[in-house]
Symmetry: C2
Subunit: 399 residues, 2 copies
C-alpha cells in the first residue's frame, strides 16, 4: 500500500494547562519589552490590577506573583499556617494532595481528609473532620477544579462548613477560575488562588491570590519565613498610586494577561461560563457515544476537563501517546495511579466547539487503532448534536 499523504503533521495542543493561547495574546509577547517602572508598563499593570478583581468577583486586591500556580498555593500556606497548629486539607486528587504536602512542609499538624480520585469532597465529612480536630483550625485548604480527575467541588458548601467552624477557606482555583462560577465575595470565600495558564488564556508564569481582609489580618499575625510570597509586601506595593510591584514583574506575561482580559471581558464572564458548560456537555456526550464511561460524578459544574475512563481491554497508556504521535493531537492521560486508565478532554480557556470535535475524533481514531469498537464520527457527531441543540449561535470573540 502506498504511504498516505501526511495529513496528521499539523499539531493541535489541547491540554488543560498550558492551554491554547489566542493569537493576540501570543503576539503581544513579541513586542519590544517594556521597563517595569516606565509609564507605558505601569498603565498596563494598573489596568490588569483593576480588572483582576472582576474575574475573581471580589473587592479584594488580587495579589500577583511571578510564579506558577503552586507558588500561589504556597503563598496561602506560608501566610496562614502556623507550625505546630492544625491545618485541614480536603482533597480528591493530585492537586488537592499538594495542599497537604505544603502544609506538612510548613510544619502544620495536617489533618488530611482524602477522597477517592474521581469523587467530590463531601461537605458533611469536612464538617465532621473539623469537629474532630478538637482545637481551633485557622485554615482549611481545598480544590475547586481538580484537574487530575475533572471533578469540580462545591466550594459554596465547603465554605459554609468551614466558616461555621470559624476557619478560613483557601481554594485552589488554578484551573477553574474563569471557567466555573466562583463568586468569591458573594459566597464569602477568604482566599482564592489561581494561575495564568488555564482559563485565563495566558502562558504559565503568573500566579494570583485574592485574599480577604480577614485572611490578610491572620497573615499579619503570623509573620516570618516568607518574603517573595508574603501577602503584605505584595499588597503594599500594589496599593500604591500608581501601583508598584515589590519585585520586578514578569512584564511580558502581564502584557499577555492584559490582552487576555480584553478578550475575556469582550466575551463576558457569564458568557465564558456558559461556553465552558456547553463545551463540557458536548465532550460528555461525545465520550458516551464512543462507548466510554465517564470518570467522576455526574455534575453539570464539571466544566473544566471532561474525563473518560478507558476500556480495561486496551492498553490505556497508548491512547494519549497515539493521539499525539500518530495524529498530532496532544491531550493528557491520567496522573499517578490513574496513568493508563483515563483520558482527559480539556475545555478551559481559549477553547471552541471544533477543539472538542478534534479531541473526540482523534480519541476515537486512537481507540479504534487499539481495538476498541466505535463507529467513525460517533464522538464528533454527538458533540455536534449538542452544539446544534444549544440554540442561537453567538458571534465569535476573535482571539
Amino acid at each position: 500500500m502506498a504511504q498516505a499523504p501526511n495529513i496528521f503533521g499539523k499539531q493541535y495542543m489541547l491540554t488543560a494547562g498550558p492551554t491554547p493561547l489566542p493569537p493576540r495574546v501570543s503576539q503581544v509577547m513579541a513586542e519590544p519589552i517594556l521597563y517595569h517602572r516606565a509609564p507605558t508598563f505601569v498603565e498596563i499593570y494598573a489596568r490588569v490590577l483593576d480588572r483582576l478583581p472582576l474575574v475573581f468577583q471580589t473587592r479584594n486586591e488580587v495579589l500577583c506573583f511571578a510564579a506558577t500556580g503552586t507558588g500561589a498555593m504556597e503563598s496561602a500556606v506560608a501566610n496562614l499556617v502556623v507550625a505546630g497548629d492544625p491545618a485541614v486539607v480536603a482533597s480528591c486528587g493530585k492537586f488537592g494532595q499538594r495542599w497537604a504536602e505544603l502544609c506538612d512542609a510548613y510544619g502544620a499538624e495536617t489533618v488530611h481528609l482524602e477522597f477517592e480520585w474521581g469523587e467530590k469532597v463531601d461537605p458533611a465529612r469536612l464538617d465532621e473532620a473539623l469537629a474532630g480536630v478538637g482545637r481551633p483550625v485557622r485554615a482549611v485548604f481545598t480544590t475547586q477544579s481538580e484537574t487530575s480527575t475533572g471533578v469540580v467541588n462545591d466550594i459554596r458548601a465547603l465554605n459554609e462548613v468551614t466558616k461555621a467552624h470559624g476557619s478560613v477557606l483557601g481554594v485552589d482555583a488554578v484551573s477553574g477560575l474563569g471557567a466555573v462560577n466562583l463568586p468569591q465575595d458573594e459566597w464569602g470565600v477568604d482566599v482564592v488562588v489561581a494561575g495564568s495558564q488555564k482559563s485565563l488564556m495566558c502562558p504559565p508564569g503568573l500566579a494570583f491570590a485574592s485574599v480577604s481582609d480577614r485572611a490578610m489580618a491572620l497573615a499579619a499575625e503570623n509573620p516570618g519565613r516568607r518574603y517573595y510570597l508574603d501577602w503584605g509586601r505584595t499588597a503594599q506595593g500594589q496599593k500604591q498610586d500608581p501601583p508598584d510591584s515589590a519585585f520586578t514583574p514578569a512584564v511580558t506575561l502581564f502584557r499577555a494577561l492584559d490582552v487576555a482580559l480584553d478578550l475575556l471581558f469582550e466575551e463576558g464572564l457569564e458568557a465564558a461560563f456558559a461556553r465552558h458548560a456547553l463545551l463540557a456537555r458536548a465532550a460528555r456526550a461525545g465520550i458516551e457515544a464512543l462507548g466510554l464511561e465517564r470518570f467522576g460524578p455526574d455534575d453539570e459544574n464539571a466544566n473544566v476537563v471532561t474525563v473518560a475512563r478507558l476500556p480495561d481491554e486496551i492498553d490505556g497508556a497508548q491512547v494519549p501517546k497515539l493521539m499525539r504521535d500518530r495524529y498530532g493531537v496532544t491531550i493528557a492521560g491520567g496522573q499517578g495511579h490513574l496513568k493508563g486508565k483515563i483520558a482527559r478532554i480539556a475545555h478551559c480557556g481559549y477553547y471552541g466547539a471544533f477543539d472538542i470535535v478534534i479531541a473526540l475524533s482523534a480519541l476515537e481514531m486512537a481507540l479504534r487503532d487499539l481495538g476498541h469498537d466505535a463507529e467513525p464520527g460517533s464522538g464528533a457527531g454527538a458533540a455536534q448534536r449538542v452544539f446544534a441543540e444549544a440554540g442561537e449561535i453567538p458571534a465569535p470573540v476573535s482571539g
Copy 2:
C-alpha cells in the same frame, strides 16, 4: 517658533532589567504554546538545562524556578538558613540589603556588614566579621553586581574568606551573570543565583540557582518551611531522564531562553564579557567627557551598569524623567537615598555600541536642558573614540 518635527517619538528602552530583547528572542514567544510534557518542549527544556551550566561555568545542575531573581535569592535563604542561627550578609546597596531582609524573614540572627552605597564589600572586613560571630556560620550572602550602584564585588576574594571560615557563600549574580566573569567551579563558589532578565537577554520570570553538592547537603539537613523553592525537589525533577519539572514550567520563557542561549554561545562567553567591558569603558569615558563624576570605585570589572553622579546644581530627579518623556530614552535613576543623585547607563545583555551612544547623547541633552554645561556630542564622541581604539571590529552576532 514652529513646533519641531516629532523626532523623539521613537522609544529606546535602555535599562538594566528588563533589558532589551533580541528580536529572535521576542519572536519565539509569539509561537503557539507547547504542552510542557510533550516531546517538543521536553527537548527544549533538556537543551536549556544542558547549557545553563556552561553560563555558570559549573558542573552543578542549575535549578530553574518560575520566579524573578528575588525568588532565587529566597531559595538560597530558605534552603540554607536555620532559624536562630547566625547568617552573615555583606552588602553595599539595595540588592545586598535584600539578603539581610530575607535572612531576617527566615529568623536568622543576621549579622549585616553594610558598606556605603557606591563602595565595594571589603574582604578583610568580612573576615573580621566572620571571626567576630563566635559561632560557626553556615552561610554568607553577598552580591556580585550591585545594580543599584554599578559596583561589582570581588567574589573570588570574598569566597576565599568565606571558605576559610568554613561557611558557604551565596552570591546574587542576577545582573552580573554573563556580563562579568564568575567561574563558579574554578573559584569554588557554593551558590550562585541569577535571573533571566539581565545579561541572559530574556524577559523577567525565570530564576536560577547553581548549587554545589556541599550546599545541597546542607539544605537536605535543614528541611521544611519551603516547597516551591525547595532545591531538592527541583533537582530531583531536573535530573530525571528526560528531565521533568516539579511544577509547570514557564514554557514561553524557556523557549525565549533557549534562543537567547543560542545567541550567547554563538558570540561566546568570553567575547560577551569582553563586549560588556568595552561598552563599560565607553560609558565611563562618555560620562567623564560630560563633566560628570563617576559614582563608585575605579574598577575595570564594573561592566554591568555605569553610574554617573549628577551635579548638585541641577534637579537630578529630572534627568531620567526628561530623557524618557522628552527624548524617548528610558534609563534608570537612583533608588533609595540615591534618588535624584545618580543616573545609570546600563550595558548588560543585548547591548551594542550605539546603545551607549544613544544613552550618552540623551543624557547630555537632558543635562543641558537643566542648565549643565556640556559641549554637544562630547559624550558620544568620547564613547566613539573608545570604540575606534578598541581594535578590529568583530562580525556582529545578529539577534
